[in-house]
């Protein structure tokens, strides 16, 4: 990984991390988007899309509801996309390590979002007397501080993750002893299990949803067999 690549990935992580909560929540931070864009930037969009789709299956279960603590998929998907796009994807273990790296980053990213919320709270507390006087400047200062802190958070998280995970992933893939078929099958079984569990979690309270799911499954399997 060259310094230019590292800088580009860090910048992408900062911009995409910002989309998770702060600005503009247009869902460029969804794994299927963030990892694909990262792959495009690094010259292998197809690899980015593959890891992005795998992570998207896992991210289906995350509802980014207000005060709850959840994994930060934006910067994490940039890391996953970069780890996979920088390695020939025919190498056994490359996808496993990219998904694993993204999951670990998403976990730490969730914690960094909690830290940023505490930071925003501290800033707001400092400005509360001025807010009480109706200062528009105070409101703008608080919003600007929050958005800047979140941008820096995403950038640092991505840089640190890449610096730690790129050499680790390279070493692990080099030592990988299992064949590509099994390696890929384990990743997809884990991701698909989470996705199917998430589907149940999201829709089991909706009247009739299980029949729609079964109908869709019949269509999906028929399309698969027709190939």
């Amino acid at each position: 990984m060259t310094p230019e690549q590292l800088f580009t990935i860090g910048l992408l992580g900062a911009i995409i991390g910002l989309d998770v909560v702060s600005f503009p929540q247009a869902m460029i931070s969804r794994p299927i988007v963030a990892a694909t864009i990262t792959g495009m930037v690094l010259g292998d969009a197809a690899a980015g899309l593959l890891v992005g789709a795998t992570l998207e299956l896992i991210a289906l279960e995350t509802l980014p509801v207000g005060a709850s603590r959840y994994p930060e998929w934006g910067s994490a998907s940039v890391v996953g996309g970069a780890l996979f796009a920088m390695r020939p994807n025919v190498m056994p273990g490359a996808l496993t390590m990219a998904v694993l790296g993204a999951l670990a980053t998403a976990w730490v990213g969730g914690w960094t979002m909690y830290v940023i919320r505490r930071f925003n709270g501290a800033i707001a507390r400092r400005w509360i007397p001025t807010l009480g006087l109706g200062s528009g400047r105070a409101v703008i200062a608080i919003q600007t501080a929050g958005i800047t802190a979140d941008f820096v958070r995403g950038g640092i998280l991505t840089l640190v993750a890449m610096l730690a995970l790129d050499p680790l992933s390279r070493a692990m893939v080099g030592l990988w002893s299992l064949d590509a078929r099994l390696s890929r099958a384990v990743v997809i079984a884990a991701a698909a299990s989470v996705a199917a569990g998430a589907t149940w979690k999201l829709f089991h309270n909706t009247p009739g949803a299980r029949w729609y799911f079964l109908g869709g499954l019949a269509i999906g399997l028929a399309l698969l067999m027709a190939r």
Binding site: P24, A46, S193, G197
Partner: protein, 259 residues
């Protein structure tokens, strides 16, 4: 006053003020924190409208309104547009401060629960699953991005624009607009469509990702059914992504150690 009369009587704001409010809406959560939640974000979005109060930025009306509007607030971020539109109108029509504060508090619950069900548990998974289905059917990177981002943001931007408009049109009588059929029945229809899409997308996406391991597809399908049943049983106790992280970490270690 009828809704029609309310439209006629609405004060007017210049287009550039609306554009500024809309852009600020996209950053309504920029300072989200555990003390005020979205409070300062609401003040931030309303600020361009409040400059039109008598005396402008230095006037007492502006300061009083900014102080009120920057206090604690919680809602779904996209549906805060409804609050911003209606609160802007209430302030510019000089509604009594106590009434505005009570109205502001009353908005939090409905705008939070409706938004969470409609967007986070409905529209977002629906668009994700559609993108996964397209991926499974062989769509390339650009097509998948266009499908997901295009469709999702038609809903996202549309909801924000609708929210500002309906809030401004109805002012403090906006509760009636929240009974809109899309908000009441939309989550159920979207959930059914998403459940159908989930059934289509999962096997197709799985087949495309597994490519070199297609001979193991039967085993993967069985493992998926077993894994999903386990996760459904553990619902609320542990999240699936944590289990996936543990399983993949153990598998990676095994793949290296078994050398």
């Amino acid at each position: 006053m009828s809704a029609r009369a309310a439209v006629v009587d609405a004060p007017s704001l210049p287009v550039h003020t609306w554009v500024e409010i809309f852009i600020r809406q996209l950053a309504v959560q920029a300072s989200w924190n555990y003390e005020l939640l979205l409070g300062t974000g609401i003040g931030f979005c309303l600020e361009p409208a409040l400059r039109h109060l008598p005396g402008g930025r230095e006037g007492d009306a502006y300061r009083g309104a900014m102080a009120r509007q920057s206090a604690y607030f919680n809602a779904h971020p996209y549906l805060t547009a409804v609050a911003v539109g209606s609160l802007a109108r209430a302030e510019l029509e000089h509604a009594p401060p106590g009434q505005i504060e009570r109205f502001r508090t009353a908005l939090c619950g409905p705008l939070g629960s409706v938004g969470d069900r409609l967007v986070w548990a409905g529209w977002l998974p629906f668009c994700s699953l559609l993108a996964l289905a397209a991926f499974g059917l062989g769509a390339g990177p650009v097509a998948v991005l266009l499908i997901f981002l295009g469709l999702y943001n038609v809903g996202h931007i549309g909801l924000r624009v609708w929210g500002l408009r309906v809030g401004w049109t109805h002012g403090m009588r906006v509760a009636a607009a929240l009974a809109n059929p899309v908000l009441r029945h939309g989550p159920t229809y979207i959930a059914r469509a998403a459940a159908l899409l989930a059934g289509v997308a999962l096997p197709l996406a799985l087949d495309r990702i597994i490519e070199p391991g297609r001979t193991l597809l039967g085993g993967v399908l069985l493992a998926t059914v077993g894994g999903a049943a386990l996760l459904a049983r553990l619902h609320g106790r542990i999240e699936g992504w944590r289990i996936a992280l543990g399983v993949l970490a153990a598998f990676a270690l095994y793949a290296v150690v078994a050398r």
